[in-house]
């Protein structure tokens, strides 16, 4: 017995491919995130030591630091309790203030920190494309003494010739 599946339309194929790609990316990002030691390291590297050394919590290297040992113990206790990442972070923010997080959150105005660079990238990219189109459509500069610029097939011929001769 053979089973035949209906053939997917091109649009469906593209959608399936995109979904598979998204799923793979998700797996890439989130695999291995549940291991407690990994979580301690990951969350600990998302926090700052509040002693004034301006270092990531797990990189603070002061013996006798008034803050980092206690903070590490609190983090370990939260993870042992089974708190989620966001609950751990909330607890730290409530206790030490928003500067305890090593990077802005993705909520409220803090989102602007992440959006702006990518917005600038998109706008910049669009601007460059517009500039390129404008430059491409610009009239060719005039050549003195009534000479006409080489164009079209003739130009391509010279180009191929130059390519062959320079072997590049």
């Amino acid at each position: 017995m053979t089973i035949s599946f209906p053939k997917a339309k091109p649009a469906q194929q593209i959608r399936r491919f995109a979904q598979a790609l998204l799923l793979s990316a998700g797996i890439l990002v989130f695999l291995g995130a549940s291991d407690p030691a990994t979580r301690f390291s990951e969350i600990g590297h998302r926090m700052m030591c509040i002693c004034g050394c301006n270092q990531i919590l797990l990189e603070c290297n002061h013996v006798g630091c008034p803050a980092s040992d206690g903070m590490r113990n609190e983090l370990m206790a939260s993870l042992t309790r089974g708190d989620s990442d966001s609950l751990v972070e909330q607890g730290f923010v409530q206790k030490y203030g928003p500067t305890v997080l090593a990077a802005p959150t993705t909520k409220g105005f803090d989102r602007a920190a992440y959006i702006m660079p990518f917005l600038a990238l998109i706008l910049g990219f669009g601007l460059v494309v517009l500039i390129v189109r404008d430059w491409k459509n610009r009239a060719a500069p005039a050549i003195a003494d009534g000479l006409s610029p080489v164009q079209g097939a003739e130009l391509e011929e010279f180009r191929d010739q130059a390519g062959k001769e320079t072997d590049l």
């Binding site: 290297n61 990077a103 802005p104 105005f109 660079p117 601007l127 430059w135 001769e165 590049l168």
Partner: protein, 709 residues
């Protein structure tokens, strides 16, 4: 001595003001004399060089010459002030407040010399000295193009006035102590008592200050509507040398942080570090886009803005650190002079914007773009990404302040933010670095792009597969599983793209060398050397690209770092990666400048002793501060980095932290390659030895050797 130093600074200010004001008057007279519609020009034409106009023109030329000489003399005066300050440091003259705060009797000689740039007032004097030195060289070389150099000289004098005003009225390095003279000074900040600190600030300042020179030429060329692109050629070497200094300064800072701060890293995204990175990014963009202006007469307006932005960002960085507006671990330089810098930033912006809009018609592009697949468009995207990276760093640096203004509370913007935002953009830039050199000016056929790109791409994919299938036990980047963590994914991408860039660079050398080899019969290596010598700028640039990818591979290693902290008594063991450390001893020591505690550790790898390491912690007596001196055992694969963190107060055992930092040595090697490439690009081209006779028919013409950037 303090009186002599103060006098030299006042004289320097007077000379700078003279150079600026009289230089401007002379240029104004020369301009009015050369305007076709001006009365003086008409009179001049009528009397063929005699009479009032000729007298005025000769007079203005003489005035201009006095302004130039005043600029030269400014250098002598600032140099005198700097020498006086250094002598005062060596003579332990604690009557001068600056010497008292930054030196002490037992400070070793090299650090006494480095006192010149170890604090606010001294570093401003040093900045002024470097600016005066650049100005001195520029004014001596004025015959290259007297008029353009005169404009540049006036702009430099304007900037110099600002620094000398600061030194004379806001941050006087020769201010005297009040009351009884102290027996000894406070000493130099312990973090600065490290050999690299003697050269890191000068390099960084040479870079910061050096970008004033291209800016001065650019503004001068804009004001005088300088015809053609000669000013670009004149400033090219200045810009490259300055860029090399800034590169050196930035990475020396990173190496200093790695070797001294003891947290195991080299870059913390601190505002002061960011301040040095921003002008480097725009300066690098300028070095690329300037080629568009030279070769194709395009991007003239953009280049003006890039030069200005680079200069402006260097000043902005100083404003950030001195004003205290953004909190930084480099808070040693905070003071009230931030307002001065803010006003200076506003004034320079207004002046530049005024002249830009006044003369922007002069900056129209001369050529059109023929194809999207061309060197020109690759430079456009390259510039977009560099400027975007700069914007990202600027945005991240200012965001805590913006957040405070908008939502009333500060936030921290640290490494996790930059890793998330800047790494994807940097990877895009790496792709462009691979593709860009393969694109020709005007237009590249997709066929040739495919042909040139195929083997490097196959090579890069092969490396990716190799890195993924090798066992993890080989260390650092081997056995890389990109699906385990996003940082591994980024590392793999960075390494693979670096390999791609390396292979495209190698293929450029190979193909060029093969053409020369075919024509001259020389061996491939000799042909490649000849090829490089014929176009040092192009091939030096490729070597710089290679250096950059070596650095990137070093950065990619950060994903594999490990660390471990442990208290270690006699005979205690610590294992990290393939290394086992056994504490043989711990002891203390006393020197005139500091007391130290240190541990002696035997290092084993694969059961065999490979060395002994001695991490140290020092207590500096004068400043009453402690500082760690990590012991680092560097290798191509990884660095074993041991920090003496302190002593357990209960049992006196040392507490040690070991870091296993992957591929860090690649960063320092890459910087040397980048600098080597830059030096090579500064070497003049060798004349092409081949003379090609005019062909009878185009189809039979002998193959020329490709040149051009």
């Amino acid at each position: 001595m303090a009186v002599l130093g103060s006098f030299a600074l006042i004289v320097a200010l007077g000379l700078s003001v003279y150079s600026f004001v009289v230089g401007m008057i002379a240029l104004a007279f020369q301009n009015s004399a050369s305007q076709p519609g001006s009365p003086s020009f008409r009179r001049d034409s009528a009397s063929e060089g005699n009479g009032l106009a000729a007298f005025l023109r000769r007079g203005s030329e003489r005035l201009g010459e006095t302004a130039r000489r005043a600029g030269v003399a400014t250098f002598a005066a600032v140099l005198l002030a700097s020498v006086v300050l250094v002598i005062c440091a060596f003579r332990d003259d604690f009557s001068i407040a600056y010497i008292f705060h930054h030196s002490n009797r037992d400070l070793p000689g090299p650090y006494k010399f480095a006192v010149l740039w170890s604090g606010q007032e001294g570093s401003l004097l040093f900045w002024s000295l470097l600016l005066a030195t650049y100005g001195f060289v520029l004014r001596l070389r004025y015959k290259t193009d007297p008029r353009l150099f005169a404009y540049a000289s006036v702009v430099l004098a304007g900037v110099q006035i600002f620094f000398l005003l600061l030194l004379n009225f806001a941050a006087h390095p020769f201010a005297l102590m009040q009351g009884n003279l102290p027996a000894d000074g406070n000493g130099l900040n312990p973090l600065l008592q490290y050999p690299e600190m003697v050269i890191h600030p000068p390099m960084l300042y040479l870079g910061y200050v050096g970008f004033t020179v291209p800016f001065a030429f650019a503004l001068g060329a804009l004001i005088m509507k300088y015809p053609g692109e000669k000013w670009i050629n004149i400033t090219r070497r200045w810009t490259m040398v300055t860029w090399a200094f800034l590169t050196c300064g930035v990475f020396l800072g990173a190496h200093w942080a790695y070797s001294v701060l003891g947290w195991g890293g080299y870059w913390g995204w601190d505002p002061v570090e960011n301040a040095s990175l921003m002008p480097w990014l725009t300066g690098t963009a300028f070095l690329h886009s300037v080629m568009m202006q030279e070769k194709r007469g395009m991007l003239k307006m953009w280049n003006m803005w890039l030069v200005f932005a680079t200069f402006w960002l260097a000043i902005l960085g100083t404003f950030l650190t001195r004003s205290g507006i953004i909190s930084s671990v480099h808070a040693f330089a905070q003071s009230s002079i931030g307002d001065w810098f803010a006003w200076f930033l506003v004034i320079t912006l207004v002046v530049f914007v005024f002249f830009f809009f006044k003369n922007k018609e002069h900056l129209r592009s001369e050529h059109k773009l023929e194809s999207l697949v061309s060197r020109e468009s690759s430079f456009l995207f390259n510039n977009l990404l560099f400027v975007l990276l700069c914007f990202t760093v600027l945005w991240g640096t200012w965001f805590p302040k913006i957040s405070e203004l908008v939502q009333g509370n500060k936030v921290t913007v640290g490494a996790p933010f930059y890793n998330r935002v800047a790494i994807p953009v940097a990877l895009l830039l790496l792709i462009l670095t691979a593709v860009g050199p393969l694109l020709a000016w005007r237009k590249t056929s997709l066929e040739s792009l495919k042909r040139n790109f195929m083997w490097p791409t196959i090579g890069a994919i092969a490396v990716a597969i190799f890195l993924m299938i090798t066992p993890e036990s080989w260390g650092s980047a081997f056995g890389l599983k990109p699906w385990k963590d996003i940082s591994y994914f980024y590392s793999l991408m960075a390494i693979v793209l670096s390999v791609l860039v390396t292979l495209t660079v190698a293929s450029e050398f190979y193909r060029g060398g093969r053409v020369i080899s075919k024509h001259t019969g020389q061996g491939m290596f000799a042909s490649m050397v000849q090829l490089t010598h014929r176009n040092t700028r192009r091939y030096g640039g490729y070597i710089v690209h290679f250096g950059v990818v070596v650095v990137i591979i070093g950065f990619a290693g950060a994903a594999f770092n490990q660390d471990k902290e442990q208290e270690m008594g006699y005979g205690d063991k610590m294992t990290i990666g393939p290394y086992t450390l056994i504490c043989r001893s711990y002891t203390d020591d006393d020197a005139p400048n500091y007391a130290s505690e240190w541990a002696v550790l035997d290092v084993y790898k694969g059961g065999k002793q490979i060395g002994t390491m001695t991490p140290v912690r020092r207590f500096y007596k004068a400043s009453q501060q402690t500082s760690t001196m990590p012991d680092i055992r560097s290798g191509l694969n990884e660095d074993l980095y041991i920090v003496f963190e302190g002593l357990n107060q209960d049992n006196g055992h040392p507490i040690l932290k070991a870091h296993l930092n992957a591929l860090v040595m690649w960063i320092w090697m890459g910087v040397w390659i980048m600098l080597g490439g830059t030096v090579l690009a500064l070497v003049p081209n060798a004349p092409a030895p081949m003379r090609v006779p005019a062909p009878a028919r185009l189809g039979q013409a002998p193959a020329p050797v490709a040149t051009g950037d």
